[in-house]
């Protein structure tokens, strides 16, 4: 451990005090509005952007993917570009405004409720809620693992204890404070993350001989790539992998497409569009969101790749060898060995903040999905609305327990995979009908339902029976058919997103064209434009009233 324990404890105490203070600010505002689910729909653009970014970028994006960049190289920067262009610009400017308006027009307070009401289907709402509640804990568990591993390496405390303390702290303010508390804390944590990453970038470049000098040193190390990686297409850390090689497929299909475009259909992110007061706020939020992602993912991947230069100079080994082949350990080891003591403490807080903000957003979304969407709207047909917040709180508590249990069970090197898997599933299941909901009025309830079912099932089928990365360790295909994957050749390398999403789109279009379109009156209501300064006059305010009536 490179950091003085008393300094670290002081930092952590101050940080936690700030977290709870800010969470309390959000909670106090919540109690005056309908903020538990949607933060009162009056959130400042900068807070929304920081919250979106902080929820988006987890510790696994920094530690897990930073480690992957140390192994595979700077080709991952395409993912950063996709994250900024699709994840921020297209998301905020193209998807955000209609989502906000339609969410308000239809009186929806969660993402599954938004698509459910848009297609007038409780099944869509219930099924989406269930899908999120079942599969998001996997992603949440990978975030918890990232945090636990980092605390273990930095503080030298027991991994299991680290995981437990970390979860209890987040659970306390998510369950009590609702979305506004979560977003306020996110914004504070996002600022801390910006500071930490800015220092990491400047420090790494200056230590390794400047921008060009550091890159050149890494370029010159191409001959040091292990033979096993060369055989799979690795051509150096500053070169794209060989076209059509296994590493090329991993990089392009899973990472770039899965996480890059998948972000558009992420429920915990899309719900944030509904928290601002007008369309212009979303466009303004781009000012903060774009550079934030660059400073998070961009810096993590560049530094991850450059850690090879540092380790080669100091130990004569590349990062992968220093970390004993475990990519998850590369970033923590680099931080602990290369950075000055005080800054390790600061950076540790940044990473803690990254994990906390992502986990908080996930817990809130999973809780609302299972409590509000699946249980109340799906199972109870909306009959028990009086206990909306109560059920959500129980839902949050339940999904937290599941996530922690998964964090104990999941294998070590799954951090980067679980994130990509969840995002891929979201893309196939939600992106076609979400786009249909926003931009194609001809989309019908039957089309959306079929697309949701086909997208999620085909994605899961590909994961379990074809895509080698999941199918082989899961062993389900082996048990049923006696072989590791159903298809051979290049197919097992192709990510589910590339198969299931086109299928889901096709289903949406074909079924919609074959069925009766929604009534013009309903569409007029859903797509109605709103004035920035008008009072909220919801046409279906029942669920809001339910939230208000509980006084949370």
């Amino acid at each position: 451990m490179a950091v003085n324990t008393s300094t670290l404890i002081l930092f952590v105490v101050v940080y936690l005090a700030c977290t709870f203070y800010v969470a309390r600010l959000g909670y106090k505002k919540n109690s005056q509005t309908d903020g538990y689910m949607l933060a009162g729909r009056q959130v400042h653009p900068a807070i929304m952007a920081l919250s979106y970014g902080a929820a988006f970028i987890s510790t696994s994006a920094i530690i897990g993917f930073g480690g992957v960049a140390a192994s595979l190289g700077m080709g991952l920067l395409w993912l950063v570009f996709m994250n900024i262009f699709f994840g921020i610009f297209i998301a905020f400017v193209v998807f955000g405004p209609p989502t906000r308006r339609m969410g308000l027009n239809l009186g929806s307070i969660t993402y599954p409720e938004f698509i459910g009401k848009r297609f007038q289907s409780r099944f869509i709402q219930g099924f989406s809620g269930l899908l999120i509640a079942v599969f998001m804990p996997l992603y949440a568990a990978s975030v918890l693992i990232g945090a636990g591993r980092f605390l273990e390496t930095t503080l030298g405390i027991d991994y299991n204890l680290a995981l437990l303390i970390f979860t209890i702290i987040i659970a306390s303010y998510v369950i009590k404070g609702g979305l506004l508390s979560v977003m306020y804390v996110d914004a504070m944590q996002g600022t801390l993350m910006l500071l930490g990453m800015a220092f990491l970038l400047v420090f790494t470049y200056s230590k390794l001989g400047g921008v060009v000098g550091a890159h050149q040193a890494l370029t010159d190390m191409a001959s040091l790539v292990p033979q096993a990686l060369v055989d799979q297409g690795h051509r150096g850390w500053t070169a794209m992998p060989a076209f059509n090689s296994p590493i090329w497929w991993t990089m392009i299909s899973t990472i770039t497409l899965g996480v890059g475009i998948g972000v558009l259909a992420q429920p915990q992110l899309a719900v944030r569009f509904m928290t601002v007061k007008d369309d212009r706020s979303l466009k303004r939020a781009v000012l903060v969101g774009g550079p934030f992602i660059l400073m998070m993912a961009g810096v993590a991947y560049v530094v991850g790749a450059l850690s090879n230069v540092y380790f080669y100079r100091t130990t004569g080994m590349i990062s992968l060898q220093v970390a004993g082949g475990n990519t998850d350990l590369i970033m923590p080891q680099f931080l602990n060995q290369a950075m000055p003591e005080t800054f390790v403490a600061l950076f540790m807080l940044s990473l803690l903040a990254a994990a906390m903000s992502t986990a908080a957003a996930q817990f809130h979304t999973m809780g609302t999905s299972i409590g509000h969407d699946f249980y109340q709207q799906g199972l109870m047909n909306g009959k028990s609305r009086g206990t909306a917040v109560h059920a959500t709180k129980l839902g949050i508590a339940f999904t937290i327990l599941v996530s922690v249990a998964l964090a104990y069970i999941l294998p070590v090197s799954i951090i980067a995979r679980a994130t990509a898997m969840f995002m891929g599933l979201c893309t196939s299941a939600f992106l076609p009908l979400y786009m249909g909901a926003l931009f194609w009025k001809r989309t019908t309830r039957a089309g959306a339902t079929a697309s949701l079912v086909v997208g999620s099932l085909s994605s899961l089928f590909w994961l379990v029976f074809v895509h080698a990365k999941e199918a082989v360790p899961l062993k389900i295909c082996l048990a049923i058919f006696g072989k590791e994957t159903l298809l051979s050749g290049t197919w097992p390398l192709v990510d589910p997103i590339l198969v299931a999403t086109p299928l889901s789109f096709l289903t949406l279009i074909v079924v919609s064209l074959m069925t009766v379109p929604p009534s013009a009156e309903f569409l007029k209501r859903a797509y109605r434009l709103r004035f920035e300064d008008e009072e909220e006059e919801l046409s279906e305010p029942a669920s809001h009233k339910a939230v208000e009536s509980t006084g949370v």
């Binding site: 050149q216 212009r280 007029k524």
Partner: protein
Amino acid sequence: MLGIDDPQIWLAYVFCVLSALGCMVYGALNWKGEDEEQTVKSNTPKATVQDQ
């Protein structure tokens, strides 16, 4: 360029920086236009929301 030989990589590096800068410019332009827009909105009758 930038100590990176493969154009597929340095292009990605440059695109990342340019897209972030583009976001900043776009956001700033929308921030700037706030006053005029607000005035126009507040002077406009709420005709299109009458169908509620």
